[in-house]
Symmetry: C2
Subunit: 241 residues, 2 copies
């Protein structure tokens, strides 16, 4: 199955000024596509750090998605970091400059020209009607930090990443985690390949624990579910979805 | 100044089932305390991965905060990972077992005893009226994944982490980023130690760009602010906060 890492670049997240909504969005999308997200990392706007982490993620996962750091100002350093990660120079892309000129109706000034300066030889993938394409270097997909733009861009290219999705069953239980842990463990011993999560309720609801079972094999999933339900006391289960 | 890293442990975040609200909370708290948060990392419930990343963060930063993986079920592996990170065995803490018995009114069963099993020699810091203390190993502070509990625990120990806080000025501008970038750069050349952020508007508002200036030196901050305001066209500035 394809694996992925998300690299969120931005001092504003680390300093608590902005809440990152991009990685939760991408996590849900990747899950629905059947891509295994293995890591989310938030780092500051520092070229050396960006370069090191881009390279490490690129080596470790099939797909890397970066968020943020692609605007025209001094703190937009993602292109520099990605270029350094692969030892590629930055260069003004003529295609990008033309796109900017078309979008603006006038030639780009120095700051806008910065946005046309990308790792040499990068692949440009058109993202719907947005003038700024998705820029891809090796397996690294460079996405903007602005949530609406990130969403539109990702959705325009998402089919490139499709794997085999997981099937999911949710079991809502009335008992406490410490009272059902043994049944969970016994089910896992019988079905070691099922992914099982156990989450105490943190909001409203008349249940105590949500147990999730997941597998890419629907038949295996249903057998694991049957095994777990057979172990639990009947009055412990509120509902199964 | 003290530095910090946050390690969020949980498949449920990576699979998009749960949105992590703990790291945004901690990021804001650490900023207010004057602690430099340098990294937020989300990883799966895998002991070797937890151990490797705990050790790397512990070596790199003054304080490490983990979130999640401390319950009684199979997927709660943070204690195992922290113990492995420092080559310490896990052991049942008599103090913890007694606290559980007091809270439950009966001796802990096997699953609850798992919650009393912590890295040997770990420091226990009482967290207000919660029975489960903050567990500290070296500079690693182990916090629960449930947001209300994490908040109460962190707030009960926050004074241990106080540094020198940043002062912050926000400048709301009517122009686009690409039209003001040169003024930002010139201000940074004159005041290289100020932290400057530039954020295009993503929600409602009658401004286009929010520029933030930050410094731990209030006088330096006000001089940098004066320098930037003097460079900007007067009608570009909507307000300064």
């Amino acid at each position: 199955m394809p694996s992925a890492g998300i690299l969120v670049i931005g001092n504003e997240i680390l300093s608590g000024k902005v809440v990152d909504t991009n990685s939760p969005f991408l996590a849900q999308e990747l899950r629905a596509l059947g891509v295994d997200l293995e890591r989310i990392l938030v780092i500051p706007d520092v070229i050396d750090t960006i370069a090191r982490e881009v390279r490490a993620m690129s080596d470790a996962y099939d797909f890397v998605f970066t968020s943020g750091g692609v605007g025209p100002t001094h703190d937009d350093l993602t292109m520099d970091g990605v270029a350094q990660a692969f030892g590629i120079p930055l260069a003004v892309s003529q295609t990008m400059a033309e796109r900017i000129e078309r979008a603006q109706g006038k030639p780009p000034n120095e700051s806008l020209l910065k946005m046309a300066t990308i790792p040499a030889g990068a692949q440009l993938i058109d993202a719907g009607d947005l003038w700024f394409p998705v820029i891809v270097v090796e397996n690294v997909h460079i996405l903007p930090g602005i949530p609406e733009l990130l969403k539109r861009k990702f959705l325009s290219v998402r089919e490139r990443f499709r794997g085999i999705p997981f099937e999911l069953k949710r079991i809502y239980l009335m008992q406490r985690e410490s009272d059902i842990a043994e049944h969970l463990n016994a089910t896992l011993r019988e079905f070691p390949d099922v992914l099982m999560g156990s989450y105490p309720r943190t909001g409203d609801g008349n249940w105590s624990v949500l147990v999730t079972l997941e597998s890419r094999d629907g038949d295996y999933l249903m057998r694991a579910l049957g095994s777990l339900l057979a172990r639990l006391p009947a009055d412990a289960v509120l509902k199964v979805e």
